[in-house]
């Protein structure tokens, strides 16, 4: 970190998960409440590590911060219809993965304006939709799918239990006839049961 005379000229070095560093202005960085709480007063020696996020995500987040430096003070979430052309382009050029990464980073950095716009954007994706349409958007399994999955799992578990019980019974009979020592008998049965169960589970 440098320590120039004017705070608006301050540049901070940010470190991403790849270990790469890049510059962000003090004015942009101060939109992050996390940064304000952690570094503003005490300063930082060397790059500030935001290593949970990759370079592309952090650059995207701070691109937004740099842009909104000159905007009026944030006064609550805007409706999507009120977003500027720049804002709309900013969101539209992101793919789904980047969008989620940006939300997560913005949430961690506590950048109120960006986080609330992202939330509004997600809400807009779901607002006015019925259950079936929502399921398509948010990739949730339907109740029927969950129920069917649960039934299959229950059926598998019951069958596995039955097989294991039968195997234990057979093993017990066989090993008793051979008059093995007790410890060896227990171990042999346990091994057989495990093998049976594992082979069934793998099917």
């Amino acid at each position: 970190m440098t320590s120039p005379a004017s705070s608006s000229e301050v540049k901070y070095l940010i470190e991403s998960s790849e270990g790469n560093t890049f510059d962000v202005s003090g004015a942009a960085l101060r939109q992050s409440n996390t940064f304000n709480a952690m570094f503003l007063n005490i300063g930082a020696d060397g790059p500030i590590p935001f290593t949970d996020y990759n370079e592309a995500t952090l650059k995207k987040v701070f691109e937004y911060c740099e842009h909104s430096v000159n905007e009026e003070n944030y006064s609550g979430p805007k409706h999507q219809d009120d977003l500027s052309k720049w804002d709309l382009n900013f969101f539209n050029e992101m793919d789904q993965k980047m969008f989620i990464d940006v939300i997560n980073a913005s949430n961690f950095l506590d950048i109120e304006r960006l986080t609330s716009y992202c939330c509004e954007r997600i809400a807009r994706m779901l607002r006015g939709k019925n259950t079936q349409e929502m399921i398509k958007v948010i990739t949730l399994p339907t109740a029927e799918e969950l129920e069917a999955k649960q039934k299959v799992e229950e059926k598998k578990a019951a069958a596995a239990k039955k097989v294991a019980e039968k195997a234990a019974e057979t093993a017990e009979k066989t090993e008793t006839l051979e008059e093995l020592p007790v410890q060896q008998l227990v171990q042999t049965t346990r091994n057989k049961l495990t093998r049976k169960y594992l082979s069934f589970s793998n099917e």
């Binding site: 789904q96 939300i103 997560n104 986080t115 992202c118 939330c119 997600i122 109740a143």
Partner: protein, 328 residues
């Protein structure tokens, strides 16, 4: 961004901010997506929602958004939008929105009362919010009414507005309701007691008793802090009414904004405050005022004053045996 969004993978604070942007019907739709989706609904702050049940209109209102219950005979009039599951019962539904952009969700049931109860129980569980208001037709079967009251009283000890009464509802059940629930804003008592009951009448700002033949001046004294009192079919006499009016004049009903008492035991020439009549037939004027959300209208009343200078207008309708006081 056409790829699916992993909503439930979002950080909790983000998820909360997103859910707070949804109205109760959108949240309900989301809750129907999966059990996990259902489990996140309260993140939206739904515990602070206002849930009103109105059996008169077969509807449940959550923050002004309506869940309407219709009979299965009527779906052909509506465009259906699939099915939804309420407490294990899957029924057809239809979405509508009114001019104020408030959404409505209509569900169709074989039995509307069963539907209303089921939807009510389901929504209370989804939103986990207290029930603010319960309005019922006095002809609702006692069994259904009591199951709803038991449900409400198992979750809360206070309710803003409650209508107490049901077909063949025994006195002891009604008294038990008052032991379980404190009605804080508006109590409507439409039950007809066989014996004079011992119930609290000092908890509510507004009391409306349809059949108040058991009400005495002692009961009236319990209502001294009410803003609005409405008693139908009372057995109060001229003497009781004179005593009440004198108490009011001396300031013993400091909050009273409106009082309306009907009694067949009042004489035709009843009057008070030394006035020749409690009706202005020479130059009758209308008075209108909204009290606790109710529009009160009086015509041809006589202006009077409390001892502390507070003005009011009083009307006695000798034909109906109705005395009204409206504090101006």
């Amino acid at each position: 961004m056409s790829q699916p969004l992993k909503l439930l993978h979002l950080p909790t604070l983000v998820l909360r901010s997103v859910l707070q942007l949804f109205n109760p019907i959108e949240l309900f739709e989301l809750s129907q997506c999966s059990r996990r989706a259902l489990s996140i609904i309260s993140l939206s702050g739904s515990r602070k929602f206002k849930l009103h049940m109105n059996e008169f209109t077969n509807s449940i209102h959550v923050n002004g958004h309506s869940f309407l219950i219709h009979s299965n005979g009527s779906p052909s009039e509506y465009p259906l939008h699939g099915t939804r599951t309420f407490n294990g019962s899957t029924v057809k539904i239809c979405h509508q929105s009114d001019q104020k952009s408030k959404q409505k969700l209509i569900s169709f049931w074989d039995n509307k009362l069963v539907g209303l109860k089921t939807v009510f129980f389901h929504l209370s569980a989804v939103f986990k919010c207290p029930i603010e208001c319960g309005r019922f037709d006095p002809t609702i079967p006692a069994a259904i009414y009591m199951s709803i009251i038991d449900f409400i009283s198992s979750r809360q000890s206070e309710i803003n507005e409650l209508c107490v009464g049901g077909e063949n509802l025994p006195d002891e059940y009604v008294i038990d309701i008052f032991n379980k629930l404190r009605v804080t804003e508006h109590l409507v008592l439409c039950h007809q007691f066989c014996r004079p009951p011992s119930i609290p009448l000092n908890n509510s700002k507004s009391i409306s008793i349809w059949n108040s033949s058991w009400i005495t001046t002692e009961h009236l004294n319990l209502m001294k802090h009410c803003k609005k009192i409405h008693l139908g079919r009372s057995s109060l006499t001229d003497r009781d009414m004179t005593s009440l009016l004198n108490d009011w004049k001396s300031g013993q009903f400091p909050n009273l904004q409106y009082l309306c008492i009907q009694s067949n035991f009042l004489s035709k020439n009843f009057t008070a405050f030394g006035l020749p009549s409690l009706r202005d037939t020479v130059n009758p004027q209308p008075h209108i005022k909204t009290i606790l959300g109710f529009i009160i209208w009086i015509y041809g009343s006589v202006d009077v004053q409390r001892n502390d200078g507070v003005g009011a207008t009083v009307l006695f309708d000798k034909e109906e045996g109705v005395l009204q006081i409206l504090v101006l």
